[in-house]
Amino acid sequence: MNETFSQTIWLVPLYALIGAIFAIPWSPGIIRQTGPRPSGYINTLMTCIALVHSLLALLEIWHQPVNYLSFQWLHAADLNISFDIEISSINITALILITGLNLAAQIYAIGYMEMDWGWARFYSLLALFEAGMSTLVLCNSLFFSYVVLEILTLGTYLLIGLWFNQSLVVTGARDAFLTKRVGDLILLMGVVALLPLAGTWNYTELAEWAQTTTIDPNIATLLCLALIAGPLGKCAQFPLHLWLDEAMEGPMPATILRNTIVVSTGAWVLIKLQPVLALSPVASGVMIGIGAVTAIGASLIAMAQIDIKRSLSYSVSAYMGLVFIAVGTQQDTTALRLLFTYAIAMSLLVMSIGGVVLNTITQDLTQYGGLWSRRPISGICYLVGAASLVAFPPLGCFWTLTAIADNLWNTHPWLVGVLVIVNGLTAFSLTREFCLIFGGKPTQMTVRSPEGLWALVLPMTFTMGFALHVPILLSKWHWIPQWSNLNLNVAIPLAVSTLVGAGTSAFIYLNDKISKPIELKPKAVQDFFAYDLYTAQLYRVTIVFVVGLVSKIIYWFDRYLVDGLINLVGLATIFSGESLKYNVSGQAQFYFLSILLGVILFVSVVCFPLISQISF
């Protein structure tokens, strides 16, 4: 059996990195003659190579046992960190999904970013994401998963901040970086705390350890909660969901990646950690709770948005909430399958919306209308994407949602209800967007909005074709149950909820007799959802306020109390315009006094053990 491609699968992230490095010479000011475009082409080529490599590797590895590789990275004192790689058909399928979607996003960007001067920066960042995510799916070590998540946090900051001269972009980048970093650092605490307990970061060994360990349940709970925090931030779950919505200020082609696979990185780590997380029932409960709250809350918020990208972004949070529910109920395989079907459907939705946003120069849903006759391809793609995302038989997510609901049916029946509600609400919200964009009569903004360039249409139609073929793939992989095994108790409510949601929405939004915009009464409720449950404001008056206040107090303390005497004298001298004659005016005493005070404080802390002994 030839194993050339699967044994060299670690090259896949490197291709992208090489592309990213090659893009640097085309950043402003180094190579001027050619313009920045070659950087994009180089990266697209490298992604193609990565995709082909992964495909060939998949052919080799199909039906083969899982393979492991290991490279030693760091050896220090008794800390050994090695880069473990797991080569299995699941990982390589994920690689194909990542490289494939990135290829689509890169081709899409050739059209979308045509006139942009940040071209080289943009492509190298996309490549960084590709490299990071490829590394994440290959690596079999919690430590490197953390490393990748943290690097991707930085990547998010830079990618959202691509158009850095707009103020909303700057705050969006800041919020994305900080909220994700909060999650990452709590994850880091978990990573640091896990090693002394388990002695390993390797996922396979961690799963074995979790089987046999007799760890104190309280410690297990704390540990698992810390480990959940990283994915929580990445997957934009309550209460760290704020960033995804603001991230929509970034360029659209990056959104294709972000809304589909970048958010899934968190879910991937969560799925990998599932055996450890199962140690703590509290952690599982928290996952289910957060997932359910986010799924329902975010779908409600999505319906109240008037920005098309933001509306979609809340549906992303909602679906990631479903993944959290799945992992919390120990369905890691099903969760992975949901991620797969979800990613394809969502990328199709984003691509079809992207073209509309580009030509119509607005993201405001209320300014759209009547595009069906002008952009039928986009419209069809949107419909296919929407149908694949919700439980609409026989397309992709129907099967995965049904599978999750089926597993929940006996253990957690109320979660099936959550699933049905979220599905119905998502169907409502997607149909609402469709009707507002494509239905109705053309408005001032949409009168001239033709179908986009080939670079936009090609990846979009290709993804549509793929989305339509997903059910065939699923049946090949035996992910679709036999008819006799299909749990109609869950399949029928799911399908009906789709129809009800979509039908109600279409009735409301396609009906000219109902005046638009439709708002909930009272207005406060509408605003509550429209402004994202006032999360941003909540943060501003709580954590941001507290950190800002504490830092100001400490700085004040530093300037006026610790350094007080000196500054007082110093300021007085400066204001009175005198030159500083320290020895003459005797100010040196003040320094010695402050040094003395500092020394006394320091000594008392250091000698605390001694002093406490004396008092006994």
Binding site: L158, L580, F602, V605
Partner: protein
């Protein structure tokens, strides 16, 4: 071999000082660079000759100097001092290029830079307590002069404050050393002969505390830090790089070399207090930095925070944590130097350090795109993003200290989140945003300014991706210093 490293800069300083006045500042800078490069190359050569399997002293030189008082001219290096020597050589070159070509009184200026280099080399390589103190104190004079002559508006204030604080630090260290020797009845101050085993625990504790206060001022630790923000902010970028990058490391070097190594028994008594002070420094530095409006002052406060990690790690006293402490010294030296160098460029080109005025420097046409890109890298390295050397050092510190001081370690991790907060503030205001194109007529950034930054960035990346080169150098020495069992050993014991 080490003598060459020590006396070549002195020779260079003398030559430059006596050069005739007709030399252009640019020419003087070239001559200084030649000396600095030879010194650095010599250090690199020493690195290649260094035996990684030998944890003891290497390249030893001995000359009995003033025998009656136990002072000898004795030099040697080990895995703790050699990386710092290399850092010293590198940062000297960077410092030469971190100020524009036209310096006032250039001969004096460049001589002082070389003298600083010599002083730090002497302190790091000294094998005799008194010799160490001599260099440790002599060092202050060139630093004082450089702050007082080439500093900012409040330079007089800052330099006097710096001098008084650090002179007290030197005196305390000297007092502790004299105490160790006299109470022992030792006749020599050589490292090899000095021990504290015979002293009672209480005497040891007193001596150690005096020593810790001395070095604590130099590092500096809260509440002995008030000289730092003023000195760092008022000094020119070159001085700040040397001050923060390497001089402050003499404090942590002393802490490990003399505190931990000479007082292994008492160390565990003071360790909880030290870890507490370290954690307070970390949080205090980070929180104060958030409140700053001046980017240089912000970076100065960040330095207090980052030096606190070293203290926590040293206090924890496991093999891994001490390794992390030394690695953090190097990592912090590199990153801080890059930050101050870039802040210096921004200040010279834009003419301000005020966060409320700076804006949009990423702009590829009118802004400073390369400087901004490097500033982002430096900020992220300081915030501990993986792939850069700061992460490796901090991670080892966290992992190493967690077994001994879990709560303190977790607080330090929180502080590293706060680090991200102020760097995002800095980057968002400085690099991002809309450039005011009416006022943005900045002089171009010269190649002589970008190349040092690129070199530092390359090293930061390289050691972040391949940290073994750094760690294998340090490890043999720090393994000997450990006083606490490591966590994996504990697991072995538990099983």
């Amino acid at each position: 071999m080490l003598s060459f490293l020590l006396w070549l800069p002195v020779l260079g300083a003398i030559i430059i000082g006596f050069l005739p006045g007709k030399f252009e500042p640019a020419r003087l800078r070239q001559i200084t660079t030649i000396f600095a490069v030879i010194i650095f190359a010599w250090t690199i050569w020493l690195l290649t000759q260094f035996d990684l399997n030998n944890s003891g002293w290497q390249f030893s030189e001995y000359l009995s100097w003033v025998e009656p008082i136990g002072l000898s001219y004795s030099l040697a290096v080990d895995g703790l001092s050699l990386p710092l020597l290399a850092l010293n050589g590198l940062l000297t070159i960077i410092a030469i290029y971190s100020i524009g070509e036209n310096v006032d009184r250039p001969r004096f200026y460049y001589s002082l830079i070389l003298l600083i280099n010599a002083g730090i080399t002497g302190a790091l390589a000294a094998q005799n307590l008194l010799l160490f103190v001599i260099f440790y104190e002599l060092e202050l004079i060139p630093f004082y002069l450089m702050i007082a002559i080439w500093g900012g508006e409040k330079r007089g204030y800052a330099s006097i404050k710096f001098l008084l604080y650090t002179a007290v630090s030197g005196l305390l260290v000297l007092a502790a050393f004299l105490g160790i020797a006299f109470l022992n009845g030792a006749t020599s101050f050589d490292y090899d002969t000095i021990t504290t085993q015979q002293l009672s625990l209480n005497t040891q504790l007193i001596l150690l505390t005096v020593l810790l206060v001395g070095f604590g001022i130099k590092i500096p630790l809260v509440p002995l830090h008030t000289w730092l923000p003023d000195a760092y902010t008022e000094a020119s970028p070159a001085v700040t790089i040397l001050l923060g990058g390497i001089l402050a490391k003499l404090g942590t070097y002393g802490l490990i070399r003399f505190g931990l190594q000479l007082f292994p028994e008492t160390w565990s008594t003071v360790a909880p207090g030290l870890a507490f002070i370290g954690t307070v420094s970390v949080l205090y530095g980070a929180l104060s930095a958030i409140a700053q409006k001046d980017i240089k002052r912000m970076v100065a406060y960040s330095s207090i925070g980052h030096m606190g990690y070293i203290l926590v790690a040293a206090a924890a006293g496991t093999k891994l944590s001490i390794l992390g402490a030394v690695a953090q010294m190097i990592a912090h030296g590199l990153i801080l130097a890059l930050l101050f160098h870039l802040v210096g460029i921004v200040e010279r080109k834009v003419g301000t350090r005020d966060l409320d005025v700076l804006n949009g420097l990423m702009n590829p046409v009118r802004g400073l795109p390369l400087t901004s890109a490097l500033l982002i890298t430096a900020g992220m390295a300081s915030a501990g993003i993986p792939g850069l050397v700061g992460f490796v050092a901090e991670f080892i510190v966290f992992q190493g200290s967690f077994a001994t001081f879990p709560i303190e370690t977790l607080l330090c991790i929180i502080a590293s989140g706060l680090t991200a907060v102020y760097f995002v503030i800095l980057l968002n205001r400085t690099c991002f945003g809309k450039l005011d194109s009416k006022r943005a007529y900045y002089p171009p950034v010269l190649r002589s300014e970008t190349i040092p930054a690129l070199v530092l960035t390359a090293i930061i990346f390289f050691l972040g991706i391949q940290p073994n080169w750094l760690l294998s150098l340090i490890e043999p020495t720090t393994d000997l210093l450990a006083i606490n069992a490591n966590q994996t050993e504990q697991i072995a014991m538990d099983n």
